[in-house]
């Protein structure tokens, strides 16, 4: 009987493992392999070029710019949705009329795909008739025609705003769940002891929300690393590469310049960065687990 169960265990595990192997492990191994070749995507006869693709990264001006943009993107993706989500959660946790309706509305963007969010915000930013410029024109009384997504100074930040708009709902929901688990008597005690509202928030609520914060930050980081689609839809990394992140840069080098080998090298670097961040996250998670069990 035991033998029989073992067979089924292996058999049933085989299918998902095969899927994981084919769609996750194999592409990963392949990108390591291609990163040391000069493959252009079309030619089956490619050469082994050693580490020259990685050496090229060091002198690639656009890679450096993309690395800076990726750091900005990740920092903003952590700070903006997290703080805004917390703020919304605090507002909605107190008894606001129609809190449920507001919760649903704020959560709604996360249900949309990044492509739809990107398209909505592209319309909002449209210079001639977009919502943003229309509002500015109405308020200032002067025709305002700034092209938010087509200017190198604002393209990346405009996409970050759209991204944060979508991600805030997720942070809000996680914080709302965290807030319900804070015992009311703790806050009451603090109040009796004479703590101000700010002190209660700073000394009681915020520390007790730490597990939620870890989850929110981790999700923000992971989501921001994956954040390719919205950028692709809104700017494609443009104008003239000014809003390129590393993922976007890898895509453009691979698929527009046909430098698949070099693109694979960039993806290997990106993989290393992602692994480092995930490693840090798990360490942090263990720490939080130890404290809050």
């Amino acid at each position: 009987m035991e033998q029989h169960n073992r067979f089924w265990r292996i058999a049933l595990l085989a299918a998902p493992l095969a899927v994981f192997g084919v769609f996750v492990i194999w592409p990963l191994v392949s990108s390591f392999y291609y990163s040391v070749t000069d493959w252009n995507g079309f030619d089956p006869d490619y050469q082994f070029v050693g580490l020259s693709n990685f050496a090229k990264i060091a002198s690639d001006r656009l890679f450096l710019q993309a690395a800076v943009n990726t750091s900005l993107w990740m920092a903003a993706a952590i700070v903006l949705p997290t703080s805004l989500g917390l703020l919304l959660a605090l507002l909605l946790d107190s008894r606001v009329l129609g809190a449920r309706v507001f919760k649903s509305i704020f959560y709604l963007p996360i249900c949309l795909s990044a492509v739809i969010v990107g398209q909505i915000w592209t319309w909002i930013y449209q210079p001639d008739w977009g919502l943003l410029n229309t509002v500015i024109t109405q308020v200032s009384g002067e025709k305002f025609k700034y092209a938010w997504l087509a200017k190198p100074d604002t393209a990346l930040w405009s996409v970050i705003v759209a991204w944060s708009w979508q991600q805030t709902g997720l942070a809000m929901v996680i914080y709302l769940a965290g807030l319900t688990s804070i015992p009311g008597d703790l806050l009451e005690v603090a109040e009796i002891e004479g703590a101000t509202q700010w002190q209660r928030f700073r000394e009681v609520v915020l520390p007790l929300l730490a597990p939620s914060t870890v989850v929110v930050v981790a999700l923000s980081v992971v989501n921001s690393l994956k954040g390719f689609d919205i950028l692709y839809i809104m700017t494609g990394g443009g104008p003239f590469n000014s809003s390129e992140t590393l993922a976007m840069h890898m895509y453009n080098e691979s698929f527009k310049k046909y430098l698949m080998g070099y693109g694979a090298a960039i993806s290997v670097v990106l993989f290393g960065v992602a692994m480092a961040i995930i490693g840090l996250y798990f360490r942090q998670l263990r720490k939080v687990d130890r404290i809050y069990g």
Binding site: A15, D128, A150
Partner: protein, 423 residues
Amino acid sequence: MNQISRRGVLLGSLAIPMLGVGRMASAEGGEVTISHYFTGELGMKAFNEQVAKFTAATGIAMKDSPVGHEDFKTDILVRAAGNSLPDVFSYWAGARVQFIVDSNALAPIDDMWVANGLDAVIAKPVADSATLYNGKRYLVPFNYHYAGMFYNVKVLADAGMTAAPKTWDEFLALCEALKAKGVAPIALGSKNRWPAQFWFDYLLLRTAGPDYRAKLMSGVAKYSDPEVAAALAMWKDLFDKGYFVENANADDWTDASDKVARGEAGMTLMGTWITGYWNGNGLVPAQDYDFFEFPKVKDGVPNAAVGPVDGLVTAANAANPEGAAKFLAFMVSDAGVQAAWANAQGALSANVNVDPASYNAVMQKAAATVAAAEAFAFNYDLATPPPVAEVGLSMFTRFIDDPSQAEAILAQVASDAEAAFKG
């Protein structure tokens, strides 16, 4: 009971790969697979009608997977990388075909070309420039386009234009007249970058000539040359005078076309596919819109026409090469297919048996203009290798964003392009 359901699950998981085997089997059953970018405003319905004629004539079924024009550039690479190119696909003649010929991804079609007597069917200038790569034929020209200055007839008449400007001074005077009327003289939608290239192409061709441009495109001449700087300086002059619409980098080519159609702008430098787009929106050729040739700038420079040739090519590892050859031959040889397709897409046919009278008035003029031109040049992103084209296309949008940076931009492009040529 429990075990049966588990077995069912396992069998089910085995059945999924079997579907793939079934698909492969059907591909061998005589059908030809094709992928193309003739979608949306580029005539999907008309293309399908032509494909239906092929199936009716030969009994060979086509398995179609159309992809949007911009996405096609990526999609076909993904399919090549996955070793799953369709038997036949549409592609742009010039440096892009050269790139995949050099990568051994295409099958030569010389036998098919000879067997079907295509020398007598395809106009020689197009055949010479678009079909031959490394001494062999790889592409049949499905149609070609011409880039000209398309304008709103009423708007330009209101600005006092009685005859198309022939010289640069006449062109500048026209722009000035339009500006005085409160209309943006020139619409440009360079969000996807390529619509900007025709300006660089024509300014360089009209000042430095087709031979110099060919050298620049192949990496013999350099972006640091005075010829390139001079062309860019003329372009900058147009920006400085305020002749271009605001925020060109925020608009798509259809947005720019709409601005001309609505009369918010006077003209736009665009390929003849704009006629297909405008006709589809109810504009009447020659009555609502027309075009003139890019004006002459310098004496003694040969008059070149710019445009792309859309071709059909066969993958080197096509599953059905015979069917693919038949499809290529039929689509380019059948004058009925060529005429219907050219008209629907707003393109010109390279088939000499297509009666020019079947075109509308504007397209007849376009055909005559190309025939009279002393040279035909592929537009920038089809004339220079794809990695270099990427550098150049980004240069154009950066220049459009801030023309005052022309010098710095050229210095950067000179080194980037040199690196891209080296690969």
